[in-house]
Point group: C2
């Protein structure tokens, strides 16, 4: 990098080129986009990251730092003068890497995966390097057109009904790339809200009502809250229905809400819930919703990826009755963060709420109505060239290989599930779906262990009275187990809670995970369970 | 990349490893994160982009493709089998590059700049490569802590009052990195809305009212619309006040609105408006707002960067009276898209509206209240490791060099402004602010040219009657001029409209722009004006 006027080592550069009037050439302060410097530093970072992937399984998966660890390693203020990339990279290695939780580790099983790939990464590089702002067509036609095409490609791979595709719907439907599901829900919710308010008057916003289940992702309630909708119904699900939202419970809730003067506008149905990957019955729910003019959004954030495999496509059967469908390609589709794919049947519903037409963006192409301006399909104005990475992923791997890749994770989850089932101390809490296994040390194990080991006058291992209830004890033991394995740094799993039960979630999907990692993870869990139960 | 089971050239691979049960080793379908493949492809892309920067000034700045150009170059469906990176890069070169508008070109002067840099790019690479999802502290402590620290660094460089800094405010204030200003406005607006509604009851949402001026960015009205606020007042500005929102006009509008039963909650003041970079008087506006308990957000999306220079800092004098302040580091601060910096005095106001606490994210660190969970400061749950690129920019260049860099752009804008002033056919429409020059062919030139050239019975060059009004003619000629220079591909500028006048905006700030580019741009404008006026 040309740092002619100022440098770190010498502050007495009063006589340098910028302070003295000089030729235009010499007046150049620095070129922060010098191609040769770009090349040098870019190659360094590629090697840094390649080495990182080589070694990532050696790091503790969940970061082991304490709160506020970083401030003591960094200066109090930004530097006044340039620092060399070598020093910065040293700091990344020494102070940043220990503070990250390694989502790229093969031993990462927490939350849902964030499955990066070479193709996803280089797509992001191209997008960051070209650095175009694709708010409307003219600001970079390729950014808009590639997005439309790739979303048609992917929609087709998912066998979405033609109405969701741009080319298949006479340009009424189509897909758009947003950052996260929260955005997909907020955009469609606002569309549904405004459609209703345009009929009944804006003053009735307080009567609007939206539906999800108690398994719906928390971003749904947050989106409704942002949109100024105060009535958010989280309909209770039951174990007997595999924690899905049933059409009957939706119907009876709607009827009672309408009786009470509320106006239902939106249902968020989920394919692959966060806690346990349950699958709401889309077709039946859409039938009910249709009767009441309710917008149905299908949130398949995690499980949507799997629907490119014929054997999983039935999970979204009935989506033709929905208004919108989204899944996160950054979760389990090899596309680096962030990449939420949203399709709508009627993009006019979105643009009626979200379009702006400020003078500074007016241009012939937009006025011709021959082009899409994606700014009107989303919350923000500015947007990156989002489709490059998804295009790279689809082309670099191909749909067939992507299917194999997903099946491979599902198979590893089957392996893990099989191992859990072989150990009678554990139970599979709900039948495995996709690549998520939900399990726990079973209540019977804990009761049996306690009656064998516990001779301390009605007090258990945790100093609680036994008659506090077994549920509490079962949950506490499983919490201890989870914390114990995560503390080891060898794997990272997280938990869910359904009907008061604390379950450990093993979400397989990190790109580097192979079968031997999964087997190792299970052995680790057994070892930690051994010692926990022994000391019980 | 190990593509063992499937490849492009051979579709008859029925006997390959994935189809036949085999050893776990052979069952591996592919490794989409193979470090050596990552290295190979990563280096290729670095060279591709370095070459792109070397040649970027040769491309037409504004893309010259026609709507729907891309579909004919790409297949109808995603490929089933992998394609080599070499073919994909060829397509990028042949079909994508011609379809992008080159925001990285030194001849780019449209909208506001998107000033990428080596540091901004490699920060983005590190973030994409580590691919962590930093929604809460535990999900990657470094992602949270570096953000807090860097936002304190940058806040200090801007001389923001201590209440906006985390460390300076006893942890009540602080900064957060969002994608765009739209998000900053929406988050703070929702906070202000809910604060008021908690006092007066949610049913009063229809009475809430927000203020901006007719120069406020369009995203403000959109954010209010998303938040369910129907009363959006765009107070008229005047040329006599340099198109700023005056305290008097705000005060009288508030008084009349309150009389009419409305409840003002929020003011979006702007430092560096989109059309002409006017600067609202923050201090006076805050004084008025304070009296009525109105939340003041200062949107300095473009001009905020310049405030790290002491000579520009006065533009945000009075910010201590505001509740929140934001600027886009991706505009004019060398940080690749997207990076909006938002500071608030009271982050509890944000989290009261935006916090969620779902079971699956519960963890000891969050419960200890010792850490920040940035998910509660923003709309979405998922978030990238946003601070890396800003950290890289601050360290790689240093605050002093960043100041020089910005001053260099301002100096180039002065040069351009000086050239415009020398040509009596043109006028500077409003005094230059920062690096934005607003100019046009002056009305007097057009009137003079018309009376010299026009002998066609009261019809002018465009076939309009002369008595349609001169304003129309002036605007039409300037539109023609702008379209003509943009069509040449040699520069790209866009326009603004104030008080009905169409002005050409020359926004200097692309990273690669040097003085000779600016001089060339002016010559080009003169040439096009010559021929337009000659044929007039």
């Amino acid at each position: 990098m040309e740092m002619k006027t100022l440098n770190n080592s010498n502050n007495n550069n009063q006589s340098d080129s910028s302070s003295s009037p000089s030729s235009p050439q010499r007046k150049r302060v620095m070129n922060p986009l010098d191609p040769e410097e770009f090349r040098k530093q870019g190659h360094m970072i590629i090697d840094f990251l390649a080495d990182y992937y080589t070694n990532v399984s050696n790091f503790p998966v969940r970061s082991q730092v304490e709160p506020d660890y970083l401030r003591k390693h960094l200066p109090d203020s930004a530097p006044l003068f340039p620092e060399p990339i070598e020093s910065i990279l040293e700091d990344v290695q020494e102070h940043i890497i220990p503070g990250i939780t390694h989502w790229m580790s093969p031993n990462y099983y927490a939350y849902f995966p964030s499955s990066g790939s070479v193709a996803g990464f280089i797509g992001e590089m191209l997008s960051a390097g070209l650095n175009v702002v694709g708010f409307n067509w003219i600001s970079s036609p390729a950014a808009t057109e590639l997005e439309t095409i790739v979303m048609d490609w992917l929609g087709e791979a998912l066998k979405l009904p033609q109405q969701f595709l741009y080319k298949g719907s006479n340009k009424n439907g189509g897909g758009v790339l947003l950052g996260t599901t929260c955005e997909a829900v907020l955009c469609t919710l606002v569309a549904a809200r405004d459609k209703k308010l345009s009929q009944i008057g804006r003053d009735n916003i307080g009567k609007l009502l939206v539906y999800g289940s108690d398994q719906t992702h928390s971003s749904f309630g947050k989106a409704a809250q942002i949109a100024g909708i105060q009535n958010i119904r989280a309909i209770k699900t039951k174990r007997s229905n595999s924690f899905t939202l049933t059409a009957n419970s939706l119907l009876s809730t709607i009827r009672s809400d309408i009786k009470n003067g509320l106006i239902p506008i939106y249902l968020c149905a989920t394919v692959g819930t966060t806690a346990i990957a349950s699958i709401d019955p889309i077709m039946e729910l859409c039938d009910v919703a249709k009767e009441y003019g309710i917008w149905v959004h299908v949130d398949a954030a995690y499980a949507g990826s799997a629907c490119i495999c014929p054997e999983f496509r039935s999970c979204i059967d009935g989506v033709e009755g929905a208004n919108s469908f989204s899944f996160n390609a950054h979760k389990w589709f090899l596309t680096n963060l962030a990449c939420c794919c949203l399709w709508v049947k009627d993009h006019n519903a979105l643009t009626k709420s979200l379009a702006t037409n400020p003078e500074f963006l007016r241009n012939k192409a937009s006025e011709s109505k021959q082009v899409i301006d994606y700014k009107d399909w989303q919350i923000t104005l500015s947007r990156k060239f989002n489709s490059l990475k998804l295009w790279l992923v689809l082309r670099s791997y191909g749909v067939e290989n992507l299917r194999s890749f997903l099946r491979n994770h599902v198979n590893m989850a089957k392996t893990f599930e099989g191992l859990v089932k072989l150990d009678k101390r554990f139970e599979i809490f709900v039948p495995r779906k996709f690549s998520l296994v939900c399990f726990r040390v079973s209540p019977s194990t804990i009761i049996a262990t306690r009656s064998n080991n516990n001779h301390n006058n009605g007090h258990d291992y945790y100093g609680k009275l036994v008659n506090d209830g077994d549920d509490y004890l079962v949950n506490e033991l499983n919490k201890k187990l989870l914390e114990s394995i995560n503390k080891s740094g060898k794997v990272y799993m997280t938990h869910g809670e359904v009907e008061g039960a604390f379950v450990i979630r093993c979400a397989i999907g990190a790109t580097l995970t192979e079968e031997h990692h999964v087997i190792m993870a299970w052995k680790l869990i057994q070892e930690h369970a051994d010692s926990l139960l022994a000391s019980y």
